[in-house]
């Protein structure tokens, strides 16, 4: 006779050996950017078997679309000469804040699943090496990108 499964309990799958504390993808955002953090959050949600992974996926989609919309608007306004140096910096700050808000949301949502995943003895990897790799790779990966729009969306 099987035991009942409470709906917030993670259901780890084949990827569970890749599960990390969601703090690491959040750090990935800080040292790299959404190009590193957001796919990592997505992967981690699946690795943890997070019951909220669909919601996390939707948040990521919203995050990406919101970033594209913000960057497009700011670049269009900049081409029309609306911004001074200071106001341009402040406008770009909005993009950073948007990325941080989405990442905090993902971090907090995934933290709950992670707590239960750990409680039930799921294997956890240390994400420090990935964060270091992201920090080292970031300048090399983004250096060849000349398109400002792509840089602002991914960086």
């Amino acid at each position: 006779m099987g035991s009942y499964r409470i709906p917030d309990e993670p259901l780890p799958g084949a990827l569970s050996r890749l599960a990390v504390n969601p703090l690491w993808p959040l750090l990935g955002l800080m040292v790299g950017g959404p190009w590193a953090a957001w796919p990592w959050f997505l992967l981690n949600g699946h690795a943890l078997g997070s019951p909220t992974r669909l919601r996390e996926g939707l948040a990521l989609l919203l995050g990406f679309l919101g970033t594209v919309a913000l960057v497009s608007t700011i670049l269009t306004l900049d081409r029309r000469g609306v911004f001074s140096t200071t106001t341009a910096q402040l406008a770009l700050l909005l993009v950073t804040l948007w990325k941080i808000a989405i990442s905090y949301y993902l971090y907090l949502t995934q933290s709950r699943s992670f707590g239960l995943y750990e409680y039930y003895g799921g294997p956890v990897r240390n994400g420090a090496l990935v964060v270091i790799a992201v920090a080292l790779a970031e300048p090399k990966l983004l250096a060849p990108v000349k398109n400002l729009f792509v840089l602002l969306v991914l960086g």
Binding site: I6, P7, D8, T86, L97, Y104
Partner: protein
């Protein structure tokens, strides 16, 4: 055979809940529900356990499941009311709690929950009446005494709180809420050692007790202002809830960056640099704070000896 087995798991879960071991009770209830997923009582009891474990999302699911399966029993209504209180949906919590009272007007536990709701909505006079009614129904219920003491302490009536705590502990010397209330009273009076002893007594029975760890942390915060600030900030954020805490953190960062950009743009690069250093120090502090704090509390918990029946 199956029914007897389910009853066995349910009875075991109730005992574990009485001992304050919600995690073990949840496991027993999972076993019962594995045999009969349509048992409304088991779903409702599981909702109470999950609330104790701060798993509010799952507790709500279980309470609603219980309510769908057994709408004529007071327990599912009661469980849903407590879930809504935990979610800070205080206006919505009243209806299921009143429904539970209607189905069983003699239940002191329901009256106590209604009193808690009244306290949270600043209706202290109503809360007092409800607690009096609960005590009339069951004068030997230490939970109600502890709740009454907590209410007195919140109102600053320390002596009255102590009387209630002593009543609770006279009825059950190991009563966790009574011990924690007494610990809080000692903390309020600055008697840190006595406060710590009470927290340790509760942790001896339940090392995962959130409230005991909270008291232990409060004692540490009082004794160490450097870490105390982090603890209070963190507590404040937790009380705000997920959405608002994200907003606060983002606004803090936005304020810092905006100030740095504006100062830099107006030629005050020195001030902008000072601000950046201050921000970095704050970030480092929030990174180191939790680790140091946890280590300090863990050191205290190392001295805890588990109760032999745990």
């Amino acid at each position: 055979m199956e029914t007897r087995e389910i009853e066995g798991w349910l009875s075991r879960a109730r005992d574990q809940m009485r001992q304050g071991n919600a995690a073990a009770a949840a496991e027993s209830l999972k076993q019962a529900l594995g045999r009969d997923p349509d048992d409304a009582q088991a779903h409702a009891l599981l909702a109470f356990c999950l609330l104790d474990l701060r798993r509010v999302y799952a507790a709500e699911h279980e309470a609603r499941q219980a309510l769908a399966l057994g709408p004529d029993s007071p327990l599912p209504h009661h469980a849903l009311g407590l879930v809504l209180i935990a979610q800070r949906k205080l206006a919505a919590a009243r209806q299921p709690l009143e429904a539970a009272r209607e189905l069983d007007p003699e239940d002191a536990f329901t009256l106590r929950s209604l009193a808690r709701l009244a306290r949270l909505t600043k209706r202290e006079a109503e809360a007092k009446v409800l607690l009096e009614q609960a005590l009339q129904l069951d004068p030997e219920d230490p939970d109600t005494w502890a709740e009454r003491g907590q209410m007195a302490l919140d109102q600053g009536a320390v002596a009255e709180a102590e009387r209630a705590a002593r009543e609770a502990l006279a009825l059950n010397p190991g009563h966790a809420d009574g011990l924690l209330l007494m610990g809080e009273i000692h903390l309020r009076r600055g008697e840190l050692e006595l406060a710590r002893d009470h927290a340790v007594l509760v942790l001896g029975d339940d090392p995962g007790s959130h409230n005991a760890l909270h008291l232990m942390a409060a004692i540490k915060a009082r004794g160490n202002p450097f870490l105390g600030f982090w603890w209070r900030f963190n507590n404040w954020l937790a009380e705000l809830g997920e959405g608002r805490s994200i907003l606060v953190l983002v606004v803090l960062y936005a304020a810092y960056r905006t100030a740095a950009i504006v100062l830099g743009g107006r030629g005050h690069s020195g001030l902008a640099s000072i601000l950046q250093v201050a921000w970095l120090a704050f970030v480092a502090y929030t990174w180191l704070g939790p680790a140091l704090f946890k280590r300090l509390v863990a050191k205290e918990i190392d001295t805890v000896h588990l109760h032999r029946d745990f």
